[in-house]
Amino acid sequence: MVRTVVLGLDEVGREYARASKRDSASNLVGVYDPDRARAHRLGKELGVPIFDRPEELLEVAKPQVCVLSALEGKETLASDLLSRGIHVLSTLPVAPDAEQCEKLAARDSEKNGILAADFHLRFTPAMDKAREWVSGGEIGSPLFINMNLWRDVPDRHGDNPYHLFVSLGAHGVDVIRQFVGGVERVQCFGVRDKNGIWTSAQINMMCSNGAVGHLTISYEMVTHHPIARCEIAGSRARVVIENVYEDATLYVHERPEKLVLTNSIFGGIPQLSETWFRRLHEFLTSVQKGNLARDTTAVDACAAARVMEAAYHSAERGSVEEVES
């Protein structure tokens, strides 16, 4: 069993704590959040020790793996954890900007712990099937990709005008990158609330595999209706993933029938929380097997952060932006 702790108990942090409690590969040995009441509630719910300070948690709980979610100065903490040889699974954003994310990701993994990023939306049978179809050449030469991802206003919305981009948007870009590789250029029109915080955005993309792409992100929707849709079209077929994991459909242009993989109520994905469980489980299994170096999600997090930086610069400047690589 891998000794695991969770620091930062926002929505996603709590999801990971619950997933960790449930996972037989993990031993959840502590949680921390600067909001003591919040930490206390979760500690009670899960029956795990809560700590007042991260240092104390590290000394007492001696974790092998740390899930790092929303925290002030998260990147400094991540750096510290990694240099102590603790593996870090970070939620998005991994760092306040792409450059700091790159510094963290560039650390020597021989000497340090390994940094990995959340990207829980990848961990569904629908995504696996879509990837199989696309990488297997079913769609022919790539034409376009569209991704929609939205929800209601999250906990930590107020403190960062770019939260929409660096959190939700980075998840959306990662899904897009699964199918097209890199994103080279972007253009964005966005909507801000009265405090200047971005709440919805339309992002046009030129992808490195020759396809044109697009991402819609919004914090102005609700979660009791579908929250996501991804569509990948090529010269031979189109693939649609409905609502993260509910359906993956292959429409072969010249065939009248469509092929649909529907989430099963037996052994399928029961709730979105399962995607965090699966993501953590893979990370823990890699830790146990010692093949963590194959997890390149930190690099993907940097790439997604670069795309999103370009997107909000575009929205602010009214420009078309090259994505730094």
Binding site: A201, M205, A211, V212, E220
Partner: protein, 350 residues
């Protein structure tokens, strides 16, 4: 009873002629095509006089209304000449899309119709469906609040390699009309497009829009996807909910923010829309109803000025492709015809 003619007798002109004949408000009195074989074949098939010269037909038959279903370069270069002749002869006109492949002739067409106070409509048929009307009613009532983003997509397989901008100019009058119909005037645009392997035209594209209202829009278009599966999708997300219109008339769904129940209007198999041809039938009948009822030329639905506005948006997208930048839409093209108040009190629903 309206006396009607058709100019241009390709597949689409023949379809117009059939619809005129079947419509209770119209009598098809003549057809015309430069091409004598096409003129004769259609005239005989339909049992009406046929002509190869539009002016001669209009002089001898003096119809009330003319369908212009000509084509030409980029599917639109022939529309201006035929439309101008019909307007000069005092006829109301329903012209095929694009209103013209170039903006200047389109402006002249609209100006002449206005000067002569004639009803001049364009066949932007995709939104003449009960589901699309219903969606607009929901929008007007404020059922989704104020629009924040719209996504639209449409594709067909069109292998013609006529001009680099063929797909932009000939397909997107439809989609942009629907986007304007739901969210109002478009202020700024940006386009990324590709030439699919083996093609020499910009056959697949992603268009990003900012509406005058501040809402954002996005349109995916392609001439690279064969028909058979869903081909059109329109969605608007607003402050109080989201609507989704699938395949023009197949299904309309409202996802209200304040309820986990969605409302779905599905096309019925009895008394509903049959297939795509019904969009033509509805659109043409709507124009006949307006003409019969004496609706003023500047109040008709789907008027040429709105087709011109859509063409101006396409023009801005072509400029964006050339400059690689965000481009503004000419505000002189705006009509305000589709403006809605989205349920805000003190405004009429438009």
């Amino acid at each position: 009873m309206l006396r009607t003619c058709v100019i241009g007798l390709g597949p689409i002109g023949n379809r117009h002629a059939d619809i005129h004949q079947a419509d209770p408000l119209a009598t098809l009195v003549g057809v015309c095509d430069w091409n004598p074989e096409r003129a004769e074949a259609a005239g005989k098939r339909l049992g009406v006089p046929f002509f190869t010269d539009a002016a001669k037909m209009l002089e001898s038959l003096r119809p009330d209304m003319v369908s212009v279903a000509t084509g030409g370069h980029e599917y639109g270069s022939e529309h201006a000449a035929a439309t101008m002749v019909a307007l000069e002869h005092g006829c109301h006109v329903l012209c095929e899309k694009p209103i013209s492949n170039e903006l200047e002739p389109a402006r002249k067409m609209v100006a002449l119709a206005r000067e002569k106070r004639l009803c001049f409509a364009v066949n932007l048929n995709h939104r003449f469906t009960p589901a699309c009307r219903h969606a607009r009613k929901w929008l007007a009532e404020g059922r989704i609040g104020i629009p924040r983003f719209m996504n639209m997509a449409m594709w067909i397989g069109n292998p013609r390699e006529s001009s680099p901008w063929f797909h932009f100019k000939a397909l997107h009058p439809h989609t942009i009309d629907i986007m304007r119909y739901f969210c109002g005037e478009i202020e700024a645009v940006h386009a990324f497009a590709i030439k699919a392997p083996g093609r020499s035209i910009w056959s697949t594209a992603q268009f990003n829009f900012r509406f005058k209202s501040g809402a954002t829009g996005h349109l995916t278009g392609s001439y690279d996807i064969m028909r058979g599966h869903p081909m059109e999708r329109a969605e608007v997300g607003g402050t109080r909910g989201r609507i989704l219109l699938e395949d023009m008339f197949k299904e309309l769904t409202l996802f209200p923010h304040d309820s986990s129940e969605k409302i779905v209007v599905t096309n019925p198999i009895i008394g509903g829309m049959g297939d795509f041809t019904d969009t033509f039938i509805n659109r043409i009948h709507n124009f006949f109803v307006e003409l019969t009822g004496g609706v003023p030329h500047d109040r008709i639905d789907g008027q040429a000025a709105d087709a011109l506005a859509a063409q101006a948006v396409i023009d801005a997208n072509i400029r964006s492709m050339r400059t690689g930048k965000v481009e503004r839409v000419d505000p002189g093209s705006w009509t305000g015809n589709y403006d809605l108040s989205y349920g805000k009190p003190g405004h009429s629903p438009g």
